[in-house]
């Protein structure tokens, strides 16, 4: 993105048009329509008389159940992001710093393998691990460590474990790129000046990798609050999140207006986060591009 003085459009600029059209027709128009549907009394195509209403939003704010669902969604998203960061950082650091090419390729395969395995499949794997007669409980019981199976499934903990497993590769890949670009000599200089490896890491590498931490966290949070499969299968409908509620409103009640209002709330949460992210990134790194 060269910002030379000669900012004359050239022929290549036209290449943006197909994607611009795609975004206009299949992104901005639909989201605009969703916002519109959220304030209408019904579907304007099938109903001759529709009026503007705020009842969908009033229903959401007026009922503690819906506020609880929104809060549960955010809470699961936050915990998932935090755990994914704690698990993803060491692995990303190892991957960015490992010297052997073969070692690097193996680690990369290990991170990509789960990503390639699919969300439904991995959730199924966690069901076989976490259920009452699952691998974890069977193993612990046969070892005599517990008498009763632990309740791992149908809990928020179970959902978080599944979500972390599914989204941690995104965190690792984002962090690896950023940590890899930090000059290792800075760390070594700190150590030569007498800092312990831990202190060199905490005072040099960690602060420099903040943009990666922010980018990875934003990605994982956005993915976690929109997850549908994992919360349903590992939560067994006992823990309600916004995506589950949205789909339920469409499939069971065909309440398109209320689903749209819930969608707008989910959108608002994500947008607030993106704005906060850009602010934070501006503070951390002056002006680094969202690449």
């Amino acid at each position: 993105m060269s910002s030379t003085a000669t900012t004359r459009l050239n022929g290549l600029a036209l290449f943006i048009l197909p994607s611009a059209l795609l975004f206009a027709l299949f992104f901005f128009l639909p989201i605009g329509l969703m916002a519109l549907m959220s304030v209408l009394t019904g579907n304007p195509v099938v109903m001759p008389k529709v009026a503007f209403t705020t009842r969908h939003y009033a229903r959401m704010i007026g009922d503690p159940y819906y506020l609880e669902v929104i809060w549960t969604t955010i809470r699961i998203g936050l915990v998932t992001t935090l755990v994914a960061l704690l698990i993803g950082y060491p692995l990303a650091h190892w991957m960015a710093r490992i010297k052997s090419r073969a070692g690097h390729a193996l680690l990369l395969m290990a991170v990509l393998a789960p990503m390639l395995t699919g969300i439904v499949v991995r959730t199924f794997a966690w069901m076989t691990l976490l259920s009452d007669k699952g691998v974890v409980n069977q193993t612990l019981m046969s070892l005599g460590l517990i008498a009763q199976p632990l309740k791992l499934m149908y809990t928020e903990t179970g959902i978080v474990v599944g979500l972390v497993h599914i989204y941690v590769p995104f965190m690792v890949l984002t962090l690896t790129g950023v940590i890899g670009r930090i000059d290792e000599r800075l760390e070594q200089a700190a150590e030569n000046l007498g800092a312990s490896p831990l202190r060199a890491f905490l005072e040099v590498t960690l602060p420099l990798s903040l943009p990666g931490i922010l980018a990875g966290s934003l990605l994982v949070f956005a993915l976690a609050i929109s997850a549908y499969v994992t919360p349903i299968l590992l939560g067994g409908f006992q823990i309600m999140t916004l995506p589950i509620l949205i789909y339920q409103q469409i499939s069971a009640n065909f309440n398109v207006g209320f689903a749209a209002a819930l969608g707008i709330v989910l959108l608002a949460i994500s947008l607030m986060l993106v704005i906060a992210y850009n602010r934070a990134l501006g503070l951390v790194s002056g002006q680094r591009e969202l690449q």
Binding site: L22, F124, K133, I225
Partner: protein, 288 residues
Amino acid sequence: MQTSASHSASLPAAQQAASVHTPGPIRHYGRYLYLAINIAILVFLLAPIAIVVVFALNPTPFIQFPPVGVSLRWFEKFFASRDFMHALGFSLEVAVLTTLSATILGASAALALARGNLPGTRLIVATMLSPLMLPAILTGLALFQTYVLLDVGRPTWGLVAGHTLVTLPYVVRTTLAVLHNFDTRLEEAARNLGASPLRTFFEVTLPLIKPGVLAGAIFAFIVSFDQFPVSLFLVSPGNETLPVTLFNYLKFDLDGTIGAASVVSIVLAFIVVIGLDRTVGLRSYVKL
């Protein structure tokens, strides 16, 4: 991509200097702790996949641990199932169409952004990447409502459009990364030697950005093949993608068929990754 390899090449002296100062037992324990933590994380990442394979091969009709034997009956059931085979075929069809459209649209958009002198480039890039940051289930919901309002039903092109929207950012990002890294003087040199803009593009620019475009294309394929939230709203009964079919099956049955289906999709994904490694090299994956 110029990360650890080039550093390690230029730094043996600095490393020696670092290790001369500080062997000591504490440093060793720290090193072991670091490795132990990382190996535990790798086990966490890989164990569930191993478990799926075990269940796919275990003959009992319910999930049992430890496994009692080895059998291929679930694979037979999977391949004999008309629903699963139809879903597999439909998923592949959607993924191929999505990959084509996302790659063509994304690569041209990246070219326009990097070389077209467009005003407001940063804003456009942020917009093009935004489907990554916005909940995918919203894309599905919003498209679903639009198709209902326009009364177009649930056509395959509608699903492919949704998938293209969520996979396009990957292509834009990988292609932009390559475009930023390469030396524009190569293009200028070609032009100075008398090549037409078109010839410069096809003989210099395109070969140089190929790795980024291919990496993006493979990402698009994988993301589309595994796409759930967008598909959830946009598939029609009888024409479902494999993840949706697997999900619906899982809600009622929990037998080895799911394991077999999983192993098949894992193998498919690995073929794609090996293809990636052969064509562009796995390392281009790192800098997402």
